[in-house]
């Protein structure tokens, strides 16, 4: 079996098995999204208007939470050293880990988002639009978060460092994700314009994320 496929399957199995990393992300997503009506008030018109934005914000924060531990666990049990010493290119190994993370942490958010849309009284078309933009945008969040996770991998008391570093870089993803959702719901901008830029951000992240994360891990000692 290919080394990268093996790494990918290992990460998927670990995420699904240990401590519920995947489920914790979805649970956090649910709680954050549920907090908003308490804070904003019960005005259903307002909630319907801000619904897509809140779902995107919740997905952003939930994926950041699960990204922290991406490399820290491997560093602690020594498997990160084995991956670094391997003959396979480090960038591809990190890409395998990133894809496993997206599958177990990002994709559940995408599936949960339309269900949580019910909190906000969003109609079916809007829920489908938000889910589609999340499907295309959450890979960008994973790839950008890789960079922060790799930079902070060796820190024990990193705390909020990873979100502080990564959130400014994810602002464009958030802007275009919400713009695409709103374009599908109310227009006047055609849905394709922000959506294709969102796709471009994910593809750019696919290249930049693993390269920067590999550099960060190589230079960490």
């Amino acid at each position: 079996m290919n080394a990268h496929v093996a790494l990918f399957l290992r990460d998927v199995r670990l995420a699904l098995r240990v401590g519920g990393g995947a489920w914790m992300g979805v649970l956090f997503f649910l709680i954050v999204v549920a907090l908003v009506p308490f804070a904003v008030g019960p005005d259903s018109g307002l909630l319907r208007r801000i619904g897509p934005a809140i779902l995107w914000l919740g997905a952003l924060l939930a994926s950041l939470l699960t990204l922290d531990q991406l490399f820290a666990d491997d560093r602690e049990d020594g498997s990160l050293d084995l991956i670094l010493m391997g003959s396979a290119p480090l960038q591809l190994a990190i890409l395998a880990k990133a894809l496993a993370h997206w599958l177990t942490a990002g994709l559940p958010l995408v599936i949960a988002a339309p269900l949580l849309g019910i909190f906000f009284n969003i109609d079916l078309l809007s829920m489908a639009a938000v889910a589609l933009t999340l499907l295309v945008g959450t890979p960008a969040l994973t790839f950008l978060g890789l960079i922060g996770a790799a930079l902070a991998a060796a820190l024990r008391r990193g705390g909020l460092l990873v979100p502080v570093m990564i959130l400014p870089l994810t602002i464009p993803v958030l802007i275009f994700g919400v713009a695409a959702s709103n374009a599908a719901i109310v227009g006047p901008v055609p849905f394709g314009t922000p959506f294709t830029i969102l796709c471009a951000l994910s593809l750019a992240g696919l290249v930049i994320g693993p390269i920067a994360a590999a550099a960060a891990l190589r230079h960490a000692d």
């Binding site: 960079i147 930079l151 902070a152 060796a154 820190l155 990193g158 705390g159 460092l161 502080v164 570093m165 959130l167 400014p168 870089l169 602002i171 464009p172 802007i175 930049i208 920067a212 550099a215 960060a216 230079h219 960490a220 000692d221």
Partner: protein, 244 residues
Amino acid sequence: MAIADLANPSRFLTVAQPVLPWLAAISALALVLGISQSFAAPDDYQQGAAVKIMFLHVPSAWLAMFCWGLMSIAALGTLVWRHPLADVAGKAAAPIGAAFTLLCLITGSLWGRPIWGTYWQWGDARLTSVFILFLLYLGVIALWRTVEDPSRAGRAAAILTLVGAINLPIIKFSVDWWNTLHQPASVFRLGGPTIHPAILIPLLIMACALTLLFFTLHLAAMRNEILRRRVRTLQIMQAQKTAE
């Protein structure tokens, strides 16, 4: 004397020591000249005297971007050429760049109130990307303060700096790609500047003056950082000695 000769921190300190007072004096003179020229410049026919905020706002914006560019070159020096003082240069530049970015945002906001009618506009591409630049500066400073070992912190900060450098062309071309609130380029554009020389000259003088100020502060900060690391090494050696 090549950059390679200044790689030795002690030699850098001996070169920087006499240069610094002269640099500070020239910066002060240039600032006096720039500020006096700014006050002497004519009022704009539309904006009146409010246009003079530009003499502080535009050079601050240029320096905010220039500083991140400088940090990016320093980052390449750390990662690619392993120059010993490259990470010192990057660490010293970050707070100065953050200060210029904040100055740019505040002066721009104060200028926008009488001219645009609003202090801020969230949908505007340039305002958003400069705000993101400010957050990136804070992120790099946070990274420096979180990693204990200076050389490891330097390499991590270098990577974050290079990743954040993608924001610079976005800021520059944001007013060309999106047409929202902030006005398009008036100085650095194909076809030359569109500003009248009576206002362009004081602007360029202020830009030179603030650039000299930036280099003065940067040089002083680099000196401080080298001395700070020496103190840290001495403290570690002291602790090792008392532990024996």
